[in-house]
Symmetry: C2
Subunit: 292 residues, 2 copies
Amino acid sequence: MFSTQMPDTRSDSPPSALHSSSQEAGWQRQGKLWSNLKELCDLLRIPAATSITDEEFLFQHVQFKTGQRIHTIGQPFDTLYIVHSGFLKTVLIDEFGNEQVLSFPMKGDLFGVDGIHTKRYASEAVALSNCDLILLPFKKFTALGRAHIELEHAMYSVMSRELVREQAMVSMLGALSAEARVARFLVSLSERFAEMGYSSKLFNLRMTRHEIGSYLGLTLETVSRTLSAFNEIGLISVDQRSIAIKDADALKTLRRLPPSSSRAKQGAAKKAKQAAAAASEKTEPWDKLATA
Amino acid sequence: MFSTQMPDTRSDSPPSALHSSSQEAGWQRQGKLWSNLKELCDLLRIPAATSITDEEFLFQHVQFKTGQRIHTIGQPFDTLYIVHSGFLKTVLIDEFGNEQVLSFPMKGDLFGVDGIHTKRYASEAVALSNCDLILLPFKKFTALGRAHIELEHAMYSVMSRELVREQAMVSMLGALSAEARVARFLVSLSERFAEMGYSSKLFNLRMTRHEIGSYLGLTLETVSRTLSAFNEIGLISVDQRSIAIKDADALKTLRRLPPSSSRAKQGAAKKAKQAAAAASEKTEPWDKLATA
DNA sequence: CGGGTCTTTGATTAGGTTCAATAAGAGTGG
DNA sequence: CCACTCTTATTGAACCTAATCAAAGACCCG
């Protein structure tokens, strides 16, 4: 029924008539129709390829409505997506049909990268709100990257960033308590909203408790309970999907209460000091590496 | 004390005298000194850049001894590493000095990718055994990629593969029970050993219970107990670091006993069917996408 | 207004952590 | 070569976090 919404991802080059004549007309309406390279870089928060103002390199936008799937698992891969506006989720689906939420892409996020390796998407992307996405045909993009080194490096950079993000996720799931996970989730959401120009103190959750729970490796009941607990302590104010951050610092510093595993016996003190030093950028211990 | 082991990662171009004259001599001894592009591709298990047999593109090897650190968190990034032989771990270190194991790189694995984005390594890599690593100066490599498209694509491919791997990790941590995690860990280790030409049935763990636990989001006690349990049931045979796989199928099919969260109510059946279809590659439901 | 989804809250259970003590290896030095 | 030490592994017992089961209320949309 919504098949007319589906973009033709194969039309790499925009019809010149369209983007030259209707440029001003369709530009502001219900999402842009085309973006140039500079806008892409701005969106991705990367140094930006200032040398390329080439207006010929335009990228198509597509709109999706709440609930629509952008791609499914196993579908042949040929394009990456950048979120221009709106909220989504990416999920893995196990053999029993259970969803595992992997990320909540929002403005400036790239997704679809997991399809490069096997030439098929490894995850499913679903719109949690009406979305405006920019299509990045992979072939076209790598070709562009070959001509513009900064762009190529930007691609590596973004993929690397994604990897680091996943690592942080693994670390969180492996070491933090339920409270700490929910707290961090709220903080990172708050920060993302701030980056996007929204209020960092008051916002609406775009996802269900179930989706949050899946993302954080918790049950929806635990998420709900934890939010209620934060509410009672005065850290936040919750009412259904609306969240008001009351004590951001407390949320940020809320470490694992009793949870986790590892705690290096005698090496802990030394290592902590080391890590602190590395963080403060004062001493730099990587000159005496490889010293067991 | 081991500082003489440290390679000079800045010498991008091998002294031609060395690789032309001592090629056969130093080639087989205690790890190669140089590898060409084809060997790299073989190692990385990617299509291989058959068009490039250019012997000029040689990559330096370096040896590390057990316990040595290859790079630390915060250290300026300039090179990627490919494991030629040996076993390592990559870890994150939190503010208290606790280690969170992220991966156990072994033959054919690439690591260091997390340094691309911020120009500094985001994790620490430590040798769990004597290792022979291939240095991949990032600058040099991207330059090469520009000249040889297949190589560039290989890089994207490997990074994408890493991302998928991390996603699988997140999924496991978020949804599987302790038993299932340990079982999967053993299975994947077994498969890796098989790929490397070792026995898939009998092998030695290169890492401690503590490291396994950190990797799987469990305590060392739980890992130990679970292994003992598998031992009693007859799935495996354990004695300290040595593992004998007795019933690989049982380990593979050992799903989460009671654990996890998410369980789609009405959509589950449909979704499961869908996922199964996608897996069996028979029907392909991605033509009617975006249908809520 | 009614069916369905989403959320909250309670009671109970259980899986996994924590604390603790012992044993087995590995490495060191006399 | 053996005593000594340090790291690693095993196992037990108690506790506790988070999952499970259950039920009721809130919200949304046609």
